[in-house]
Symmetry: C2
Subunit: 279 residues, 2 copies
């Protein structure tokens, strides 16, 4: 089976680094003329998938905007994820789940088990309760060619309390997370391949301030905050040696185009990024 | 409107500190003779609510075990929460959500908005992206008499990387979280009342090692890990000055009794805790 890291490499080679965020928050629903309801987020999600298919390699539904509508919202999310996967898009469920023991395991099962209602290609996870709590989720991902993106560093100043605190070795918490997950990747990734356990690193994070270096072995880096939040395609260079594995996620900068102009906006934004043959 | 802190105080005064965790993981479903499915977790949850009603003041459904079954699992959770609230139980949705900006806001809206499908009395939240990211959720809670339990310290050694790292003031991250939330509580809590923004502190956490002191003003402390995980009623004393506000959550120690003996087990475990008049 092809590992998730290699699937990301193929997608970025074919379509470039742009990832379309599917973020149906209430203001965007209103701008699109859709109701603030489960029906509204379903329609928003399916239209975005239609526009993204064939234009980018990766989409990232933001779970909270579906969860807002309870079970009906999750039913909509199931449809959106299934439609995206059927269209050949890699789906990263942005759920940021984190817990301990069998509780965390159930979150991993929910998003990564083949045939589960919410099955995606990858899920985002929160390591505040320890990278070790994600072990079962990592196992499950590797077993089924799925991915996990571990929150490592975000760019909001609020986050510095937890993320830039120092562990006994003198590393930042962010750097320690990257080191712990990379050690696991090193033990599970064939030579020359991209690893399947990636990281979430905000697009406007100053890498050196966060104590970060490029992961070894190379691992996908999900970078929310491109476009509207200020990071532009040329900022890929900030990631230095990590730039080739960056998945640049844009949400508002694309979604604000509205449904009629969405496909054109996606094409335009996708063309603004460099295309690299990752071979 | 009565604030959530005062609602917890009334519940603990009337029924004692025991909280029944509703954790329908697959092994327990099998032990109960229930299918591993949304129908199984629904039945498990409703039976637990029936047994808990009138015997304890608080229940804590663990969201991941419902999420495992996708939208149908969330439909089951909606029924379980509604049944518990109708029976007069305070419901803490153990979701441990955490994100930034409007994404986090949507999580707060999902669990705390009156009339929302998943409306609970309180939700657990993950502060890894910064206590400030929870501001809207805090506002919403205070507006509607709801509560938020912020993850502060857990007892698994894995968690020490993030939680016991040191911030520039020399505090642990855990202590910094308690300080930041307590400052907010101090500004929003009438004299003599319990605050509505509480903390999750694992039952077997060594408080001094974690750099913790009792929150001021007093705030509810959700303590998972009583019973099966080793903390017993007499361990309430470990919380020192914080002991009176502790909600002692037991899951497996109660649920392993099976459906037929569940009510008796809950009564027995509830009676093992001291009853304090919090007046």
């Amino acid at each position: 089976m092809t590992g998730f890291g290699e699937r990301v490499r193929a997608a970025l080679t074919e379509r470039g680094p742009l990832c379309v965020g599917i973020d149906p928050h209430e203001q965007l629903l209103a701008e699109w003329g859709l109701p603030a309801s489960a029906a509204g987020v379903r329609e928003f999600g399916l239209r975005t998938v239609d526009a993204a298919a064939g234009r980018v390699g990766v989409v990232k539904p933001q779970v909270s905007f579906f969860e807002r509508w309870g079970s009906a919202g999750f039913a909509a999310l199931e449809e959106v994820i299934a439609a995206a996967r059927s269209a050949g898009l890699l789906v990263i469920a942005d759920a940021k789940r984190g817990d301990i023991g069998s509780t965390m395991d159930a979150y991993g099962d929910a998003w990564l088990t083949p045939g589960a209602p919410l099955e995606a290609d990858a899920v985002t996870a929160n390591p505040f309760l320890g990278v070790g709590t994600l072990e079962h989720t990592f196992d499950l991902a590797e077993q089924h060619g799925k991915g996990v993106f571990v929150l490592a560093a975000t760019s909001n100043a609020d986050a510095f309390t937890s993320q830039r605190a120092l562990v006994p070795s003198g590393r930042t918490v962010s750097a320690e997370i990257v080191a712990e997950v990379s050690a696991r990747n090193a033990a599970h990734t064939p030579d020359g391949q991209w690893a399947s356990l990636g990281f979430v690193v905000g697009a406007t994070v100053a890498w050196e301030d966060a104590g970060l270096i490029a992961p070894v072995p190379p691992a996908p880096i999900l970078a929310p905050g491109f476009g509207f939040q200020g990071a532009q395609a040329e900022h890929l260079g900030r990631y230095g040696a990590a730039a080739p594995t960056v998945i640049a996620s844009e949400s508002r900068s694309i979604l604000a185009a509205g449904p009629a102009d969405l496909a054109a906006r996606i094409s335009e934004r996708a063309a603004s990024y460099p295309r690299t043959a990752h071979v």
